[in-house]
Symmetry: C2
Subunit: 184 residues, 2 copies
């Protein structure tokens, strides 16, 4: 119980991040907007938003104890001064994925696609936070969020391209790629 942090992403005329790319990678895209606000809690309904998404920071779904022991000390916090680039990549997976047994999903996620192993190589340069939203009934299953310094932008592109080439991504049916720059 508890331990759940709700996070809202609200796109519109205000917010601490400038949207520099908004690309529909798979399926329907998201409306264009100038800025993105990211904050704890549920969407502020008094703000006119181009779109708003929310998810929760929840418990690990595939990582083993051993993987967590490697991930946790290497993971960087959000909000580092040098991390002036960010990516918000909302993702939806197919019903075929969600009907699989846990063993099969784990095998595709890690043993075949090496999701955690690949990501580890980019830590701590890329800070990451995963927001779950499938159980919230939203239009996506995950809102993935990354922060990195400009000198790691190429490395981040490499990671994204690698993940998109994996077996896991054959179950992705909707993906939008938003890139952001921090405003002063």
């Amino acid at each position: 119980m508890s331990g759940i942090l709700t996070v809202t992403f609200q796109a519109g005329a205000s917010g601490g991040w400038r949207i520099v790319r908004n690309q529909a990678v798979l399926g329907e895209g998201l409306p264009t907007a100038d800025r993105l606000a990211m904050y704890g809690g549920f969407p502020n309904k008094d703000v006119a938003a181009a779109f708003e998404l929310h998810g929760v920071v929840s418990h690990p779904r595939y990582a083993t104890e051993q993987e967590l022991a490697r991930l946790r000390p290497l993971s960087a916090p959000l909000g580092r001064a040098e991390a002036r680039c960010a990516a918000l990549i909302p993702i939806g997976k197919s019903e075929d994925w969600w009907r699989l047994g846990q063993d099969r999903r784990r095998a595709v996620f890690e043993e075949t696609s090496r999701h955690t192993a690949r990501s580890l190589r980019y830590l701590p340069a890329v800070a990451r936070q995963l927001h779950h939203c499938r159980d919230l009934g939203g239009p996506f299953d995950f809102l993935t969020w990354f922060e990195y310094a400009p000198e790691h932008a190429d490395a981040f592109e490499e990671l994204v391209a690698e993940l998109r080439s994996t077996e896991e991504w054959r179950y992705v049916i909707r993906e939008v790629d938003l890139r952001l720059e921090k405003l002063d």
Copy 2:
């Protein structure tokens, strides 16, 4: 994406089930009420309720492909005419549980506690539906729901007692046991 069914349990003066027991097993209990309504969708805010809980029917979290292949054909639907007894057992687990790696949670759930294997022996007599609510930020992590004919009431008590004796239950920090009888 999609595939998510929201279910509300609303206790008060109306509803198709009479509440015949309302017992705090671990931690805080729930207010007393005469009846319980169970319906698809979010809580109806126009109804004065003693309490209302909602959760989502979501994907399997621990069951393997092999276990699902045994579970799915044996699972009975809700709403059988003879299933005049029901149980709503909301459960909350500790932060210690949620911080564990997936491999460790799986091991406690099945290899040690034999949750699925034990439950299989009571199918199809006991129909069951699991509602997840941890990601919804509610006061419980799960709302477990069972329906059975009066002649299987003893068997159901046996299953509940067995599960409460397992290692998995050492991570349960809140549990309320509501028993219900169908109204005509």
